[in-house]
Every structure is written in C-alpha cells, then in structure tokens.
C-alpha cells in the first residue's frame, strides 16, 4: 500500500468518517487513509446479520449484535461490553474504582453510532462557560455562537428531525432542522396531556418537547423514514437512524478515501523535525499480524475518550501537561418507573421521542448537577424487560410454583406491561482530574495494554442524581394524583446509576497548554499536525447526548485542517 498520505485518520466512527468526508469535500485531491480496528462491513447484509444476532441473543444488551465480530470475539481490539455488569465490563477495562465506569463503546467500523439511540440535542449556550457563569469546572475555548454554524451543518450531515419552534428558545438556530420532528407515540401523547397542567417544580416549569433525533421522519439522503422497529439501541434494522456507516460508505465509495479495516493501531512514533508521528498498526485479519507503518502529513485521532488517551500514553507522546487521560466524564443516568393509569402501549416506535429540558440549567448548578429527562417509549427499559415481566407474573420463586397460566397469565401480562412507563434522567458530571484513563499491566489479544480506569462519583454528581430523582418522583406524583399512575419506584433516591454510553473528556481542548491537550481547533499543543476529534476534546460534558456536539466540532476541526492542505 501507499505509505504516505496527506491525512491518516485513526477510527472510522462518526468523528473519523465525517472528518474524512469533510476534508475530501473541501480538498478533493487530498490523499486520505481511514483506519479502523473493526472488520465489519457497512452494507445491508451486514446490518441484517447484526439484527439476526440480536434476535437470537439471550441478553439483548448493547453488544449483543456485535459480539461475534472478530476483534471482540478473539480480543483483537475488543470493545468494552457496554453493560453495567462489572465482570463483563472488565473483560476489557481494568477498573481501579472506587466507583465503576459503566459506559462502553463499540469498537467497529461505524463505531458506537451503530448502537446509539440517536438523540441529538445541542449543548446549551451556558454549557460553554460554566466557570464564568457559575464558578465551577472550566470554560470552553469557544462559545455556542462560534459552534452554531457547525451545529447546523452537523444536523444536515447526520439527518436530524426536530421542531425549530420548540427548540429556538433553548438553543438559538440559524437554520431549520433538515426534517420535521419525529412523531410521538400514542402513549407519549397521553403522558404529554397528563403533564399539561403540572405546576412548576421548585419554580422550574415542566415542559415536554420533541427530542431532536438523527432519525428520519421522512426519506432523507437515500435512507427511509423510521419504521418503528423499537430497537434503536442496539441496532436499527432499517438504517433510518443515522450511523456512521453513512459516512464510511460516502468516504470509501464516493470520495475516494482509502479505508482499511481490521487494522489496530499499536502506537504512534514521533518523527524528528516538524512532522506528525508515524502510525504503526497491525492487520489482525492476516495470519502474520505483522506491524505495518504509514506516515501522514497530518494524523487525526478519532478513537473516543478511552482509546485516544490510551493510544497517546502507550506511544509515549508528549504529556508534559499531565492532562492526557484525565477528566473522564459520563452522564450518570437513572430512571423512575411506574404504571400509567391506562395503557400507553410501549415497544411501538422509537424508544423515546419526548424529553424535558428545563432542568438542564439553573442557579442550582453552582452546587448540583443539571440533568436532561426523557420520557421512555420502551416500557421499563433496563428495569424490567417484557421477558422478566412474564417470569414475575407466572412464577413464585419462594414457593417454586406457578402463579398464573393460560389466559389469566396473558391478561395479567397485558394489564401490566402495556402500562409500563419510565422517566429517565441523565445527569451532568464535572471534570475531575483524578477520573482518568491510564495503561494497565494487562494486555489484549494483540498484546496491546488495556485501559485502566480510575473513577469516582463526586458529591456534585450525587446531588444531581438525588435531585433528578426528586423531580422525576414529583412528576410521577402528579400522574398518580391526576392520571391513575401506580407502582412507582424507586420512591427514595438510591444513588445507583447506569452509564449513558457517553465517555467524554481525557484530551480536552483549551487555550492553556498546561491545562489542556488540544486547542480549540482540535490541534495538539505538543505535537505538530496531530489532531483529535471526538468527545475526548470536551472540557465539560453538559447534559446533552454528545454526538451532535462532537460532530459539529469535527466539522470545524476538519475545515481548519483542510485549510493547511495544498
């Protein structure tokens, strides 16, 4: 293969693939190599194979469609498992605690977007200046207004459905959404009606909005409108939900980007002089798995907030700032479930379409994390699956006897599951330099160090979880009082949490090279022509799902990089 490129991009997820496309669109003559550790294809047959694997899996959890991919199955660049089971997670992560970092990722061509829900709210303008506004965390080196044009472009790239009139007051916009907002479900509308007359909670109005989603509400760029398969996480059978296979295909098939899959980068080797590091990788699909190397005038790291610092550290790249790997963040998430007063018929349509955004910002944020709330359209989600409901209704585990059978069991099941509703809250976590990714002594199937993670939930986050529960509980109380809701739990805050699948931080951007790793353009402070795209560059994590923001930042970085090319 050619061993010199204008740009070598490591990671073919949304950030890397979109970066490749944008650079090529601006500079069609650019020679670009896109490397990924996964060896999956990105066509319809591959998607169907993932669906089949999901359907015959026992757990139906996030990694179930992808578990058989060679890199996962044989440990060549494995994904963490994306479950909150510490044993399963630790097949890849080595966690030193004291708390468990619960969010994984999918290490494959197209990355974690294969398995995301598709929610694409923007960060709020206030999310960019928490230090100035509330005296907490750090400010970003750019503002909402700086990023707004790129938000608009990212929404076109992903294909976002949303209602401008609902969102303009929260996140000012220069453009309409590419598509109208996703249609709410039958049950969503019952909930929206039930909450129409709820009083403000602690002075904050409870306003239900249509969540912007990278899910087609009409045919868009050759992909169909959503078919309502209700399996957005972990696999969209129709492709109506954006995943980065869109940009991988565009890069490979339309823009003449060279894509190599099954290639795990082993390290970056700094070169003498004012040039980017050499990329050393192994194609694990070959018998020899021999090391190969390639040089690019520019190198772009696009391998998420776990793998990017891991690769940086194992390569011995410049870390005099001691910032690489630090400030790992997630959105700690929990939910309050209950039975609505009448059937809401979950498991029909997208897993959620409505949200409550009013608790994403407020004066309490000086001491207590903010949160986004979602109204689920997927029953009790992780709390109780339909299969578990069957077992709970038919079986008495103490007596070891059947409780119900026949049509009586059918009726009990229908009565219970069709009324299941969850209100989730996903909380803000501040950067903490002690929450970090380092290298463990343990190695993966290619003898590459596995990431070691130290993670602690601080009091700010615990207060966010407690306040999120309090607000969700009071929303349920209103539905109990006015709409016949019952069986609400948990009644008290547990401080338990799930990972949101949103690893962020670890190579954050900033103006001061002593406290950040890259500048506002995503360019390394320490290394010439070494760029980082993806959620690792976030200085703070907001309450919004990170993909749209990382996509906007990626387009901005790609434009900056492209201007340096001949």
């Amino acid at each position: 293969m050619d061993t010199t490129y204008d740009v070598v991009i490591i990671g073919a997820g949304v950030a890397g693939a979109m970066c490749a496309c944008r650079i090529k669109e601006v500079k069609p003559q650019a020679r670009i190599l896109l490397l990924d550790a996964g060896d999956n294809d990105v066509d319809d047959d591959q998607r169907q194979a993932f669906v089949d694997a999901y359907q015959v899996s026992t757990a139906k959890n996030v990694p179930s469609p992808y578990a058989a991919l060679g890199n996962n199955k044989f440990g060549y660049a494995p994904s963490s498992d994306g479950t909150s089971d510490p044993v399963a997670m630790n097949r890849y992560y080595v966690e030193s605690g004291p708390d468990l970092f619960k969010s994984g990722f999918q290490r494959m061509v197209g990355g974690s977007t294969w398995a995301w829900r598709g929610n694409t709210p923007r960060f709020l303008p206030t999310d960019f200046d928490l230090k100035t506004r509330y005296g907490i965390a750090v400010d970003w080196p750019l503002t909402y207004n700086d990023l707004e044009p790129y938000y608009a472009q990212a929404e076109v790239e992903l294909g976002v459905s949303g209602n401008r009139d609902e969102w303009e007051p929260l996140t000012p916009r220069s453009t309409d959404y590419p598509m109208p907002g996703i249609a709410a479900s039958y049950g969503d509308e019952l909930v929206r009606a039930a909450l129409a007359d709820i009083e403000p909670i602690d002075g904050t109005p409870v306003t239900v909005l249509t969540t912007p989603q990278a899910r087609n509400s009409e045919e868009y760029q050759g992909r169909s409108a959503c078919q309502g398969n209700s399996s957005c996480i972990p696999i969209c059978p129709s492709g109506a939900k954006y995943d980065a296979s869109v940009h991988v295909r565009r890069a490979r098939d339309e823009l003449d980007v060279q894509v190599r899959t099954g290639c795990t980068v082993a390290r970056l080797v700094p070169r003498p002089g004012n040039v980017s590091p050499t990329v050393v990788f192994r194609d694990w699909t070959t018998t020899e798995r021999a090391e190969e190397q390639v040089n690019g005038t520019h190198v772009v790291l696009a391998v998420n907030a776990i793998e990017t610092p891991k690769l940086w550290l194992l390569s011995g790249l410049d870390n005099r700032s001691d910032q690489v790997g630090r400030n790992l963040m997630d959105h700690l998430a929990e939910e309050v479930v209950g039975l609505f007063g009448q059937p809401v018929f979950p498991y029909r349509g997208p897993q959620s379409t409505l949200s409550i955004e009013t608790f994403r910002d407020g004066p309490w944020r000086r001491t207590t994390g903010a949160f986004r709330m979602t109204i689920g359209n997927d029953g009790w989600g992780r709390f109780e699956s339909p299969s578990l409901a069957v077992d709970k209704l038919m079986w008495d585990p103490a007596a070891k006897k059947l409780k119900h059978y026949g049509t009586e069991l059918q009726d009990a099941l229908a009565e219970r599951v069709t009324r299941m509703l969850r209100i989730g809250y996903s909380t803000e976590q501040l950067p903490d330099s002690a929450n970090r990714v380092t290298l463990s002594d343990e190695r993966d199937g290619l003898d590459i160090p596995r990431p070691k993670i130290a993670f602690k939930i601080d009091d700010y986050s615990k207060r966010a979880l407690a306040y999120g529960h309090s607000v969700a509980r009071r929303i349920w109380q209103h539905m109990e009082d006015t709409a016949g809701a019952e069986e609400i739990e948990p009644l008290q805050p547990t401080l338990k949490f799930n990972g949101a699948g949103h690893p962020m931080g670890t190579t954050r951007m900033g103006t001061d090279r002593a406290t950040s790793v890259v500048n506002a353009d995503g360019l390394s402070h320490a290394h010439t022509n070494l760029w980082v795209v993806g959620p690792s560059v976030f200085p703070t994590g907001s309450t919004a799902n990170p993909t749209l923001t990382l996509a906007a930042l990626t387009l901005r970085t790609a434009d900056k990089l492209a201007t340096t090319l001949p």
Binding site: Q55, V56, A184, S185, E189, G228, S230, P237, P346, Q410
Partner: protein, 132 residues
C-alpha cells in the same frame, strides 16, 4: 395421541393460546428435553392425567405445582413459548434457536406490540401514533 401432539396440547393449556404451531412445538419440546430429559415425559404424563378432568387446565396446574420438578418445567415451557428462550437447570439461558422463533414469541402479541427489531407489517412511519 403422540408425545408431539400431547406436548403441543399441554402447551395450549399452559399458554391459553390455541392453536399452537406443531413444528414450533416439536422444536421447543426437543430443546427442553435436552436439558430436562426425565421431566418432559413426566409433564406429558401429567397432561394425559389432567385431560380427562372437568377442567384440564386447572388439573394440570394443580398437578405441576405438587411436583417441584414439573413446576419448574412448566415454567420453562411457558418461557419458551413466550420468548423462545428458557432457563436451563444450571440457570444459564438457552437462546432463541432462530430469529424467526424469536419473532414468534407470544409475549409481543399479548402486550399489543411487535418483536423488538421487527416492525409490524403493515406498519410504516408513524404507525406508533395510533392505538394498536
């Protein structure tokens, strides 16, 4: 009656669903028999004893609950019909044997939904806005 027919018939009593597909019943019976080899025949015997009673379903329910091993197999028989999956004696899960069997699980019909990852046909964009 044969084992095959009787297993299907007892499944109809347990699930309340009638008629159940014979080929699916055969596949389910074989999967269960691999892990509960002694008890499948005993469950069928219990069914044969119950079928002559005034209320065969109630008689079968009483009979299986009087025998912990049969109660357990009755539970897994219900599980496999509802979800194409069941719990083995060692408490590991026996996965759906094929995607189509997963999609044929009774649970989705009973809760007025569709199998996750298999949208209803006819359906299309926005079907979920309507009462099922």
């Amino acid at each position: 009656m044969t084992h095959a027919a009787d297993f299907r018939a007892l499944s109809e009593l347990l699930t309340g669903e009638q008629p159940l597909d014979q080929a699916t019943a055969d596949a389910h019976r074989e999967r269960l028999a691999r892990h509960f080899p002694a008890d499948v025949d005993r469950l069928i015997d219990a069914y044969r004893a119950a079928v002559g009673q005034p209320d065969p379903g109630a008689a079968l329910f009483t009979a299986v609950n009087a025998d912990p091993a049969l109660a357990r197999l009755a539970r897994e028989t219900l599980a496999i019909w509802y979800t194409a999956q069941f719990t083995r004696p060692d408490n590991t899960q026996d996965a759906p044997d094929t995607p189509s069997r997963y999609r044929a699980g009774l649970v989705w019909k009973v809760i007025s939904a569709h199998p996750l990852s298999a949208a209803p046909v006819p359906g299309g964009y926005g079907y979920w806005t309507q009462h099922p």
